[in-house]
Symmetry: C2
Subunit: 234 residues, 2 copies
């Protein structure tokens, strides 16, 4: 009995249900008892059972539908949450010395694909920044960023030598959502030179777009040093 008799917290119920699924008492695709029944079995209220099952459903372990009941998912392990920390935190968290160096800061006409990505019309110059972040002096990640200065004119006056572009934006500019893309590239001449690696090395690339309402605030590409890994458990 993996459900301690005396307890009645939603975590205990969740753990018990998880165990049954894992142990295959309830097989993938099978219907499990409804909330009221489980509540009675565990000696708690239906609200507590609901809380427990809702969490499992959000994890993709259960599938719930009104009237149809709750089933064990046929294909779990469907999502993985990656932490996207501030680069500074990531480096300092390893006990290393963080530093940022602005390589380029200029107004530049965005090429057509960037115009689309930023949803800016025409090719009026906007702010373009290249920054290298280092850990104990070693290149860690190379950041190339467009800032939509039509949406954020104040960025023109910011001093990114005292605060990194990312930290400035997070602090100063409201936003509500974003999207991420992860891909890979072979190091070209410039990346290799900046990151101090061999040309042709495999590099992990994270593209990230930040928006406020319909407006895109910034679009940034992070090219990580060779060997970098993004990790998660679920």
């Amino acid at each position: 009995m993996s459900a301690p008799a005396g307890r009645k917290t939603w975590q205990a119920v969740q753990a018990a249900v998880r165990a049954r699924i894992s142990r295959r008492d309830w097989k993938p695709g099978a219907l499990i008892p409804h909330e009221a029944e489980l509540a009675q079995e565990f000696g708690c209220s239906r609200g507590t059972v609901n809380r427990a099952l809702r969490g499992l459903a959000e994890d993709g372990l259960l599938e719930r539908r009104r009237r149809a009941g709750t089933r064990v998912a046929l294909n779990p392990q469907r999502r993985a949450a990656f932490a996207i920390p501030l680069i500074r935190d990531e480096i300092e968290g390893k006990g290393q010395q963080f530093a940022a160096r602005i390589l380029t800061r200029e107004m530049r006409r965005p090429p057509p694909d960037v115009q689309a990505r930023l949803r800016v019309a025409g090719a009026a110059p906007i702010l373009w920044l290249e920054t290298l972040y280092t850990a104990d002096g070693a290149p860690y990640v190379f950041e190339a960023r467009w800032i939509n200065t039509h949406a954020v004119p104040r960025a023109l006056d910011a001093d990114f030598t005292v605060i990194s572009p990312n930290e400035w934006l997070v602090r100063e500019v409201p936003f509500d959502s974003g999207d991420f893309t992860v891909s890979a590239m072979a190091a070209d001449g410039r990346s290799a030179a900046v990151l101090g690696c061999a040309e042709g090395a495999g590099l992990l690339v994270l593209d990230r777009r930040t928006q406020h309402g319909a407006q895109i605030i910034t679009s940034v590409r992070l090219v990580f040093h060779p060997g970098y890994r993004m990790h998660t458990r679920s």
Copy 2:
């Protein structure tokens, strides 16, 4: 007024709070009113407010501590959930023809790093599989998999030509958790040959380990075709 007056669902409360954060009525780092106060303001019970704020805290938008109250996070956008679909679903979802071809199936002695990764002692041979998945005949992803046949002896009898290793495992073997790592590599000779790409191309690599209790069931490496992207919105 983004909060319709008559409603009192937790989604409405959450949307209203989200709007205030986004609009910077409540600035990053600032303390927001406590639950009872918000409940009164929104004309709902504290439970409803709790539900709304809890969700925002899970998204990393708020930071909550007992007694200390609830603050707007200084650095939101901290996690991104990537969908990890079955390869078959991903390919068929694009309307393409899915196919899997087993390239290698043999018992092999795991090298020391794999022994550690699978938590198997000694170098007794275990099952090793290489599979190429194609979309409309074009190489899509190259899978290299170790199956811990000490934990899953039945895998020895499975016919992976009629069901892919992944689908067989999901269906037949209980598991409860896993971990993922994303990285990049430059295509070596073998990868290039199998994926039909140029040597040196940048390839996205997903390593994934599946466990049941303390036992590792399988460890798999997916090497995607050049240009593959993992995408998410948050």
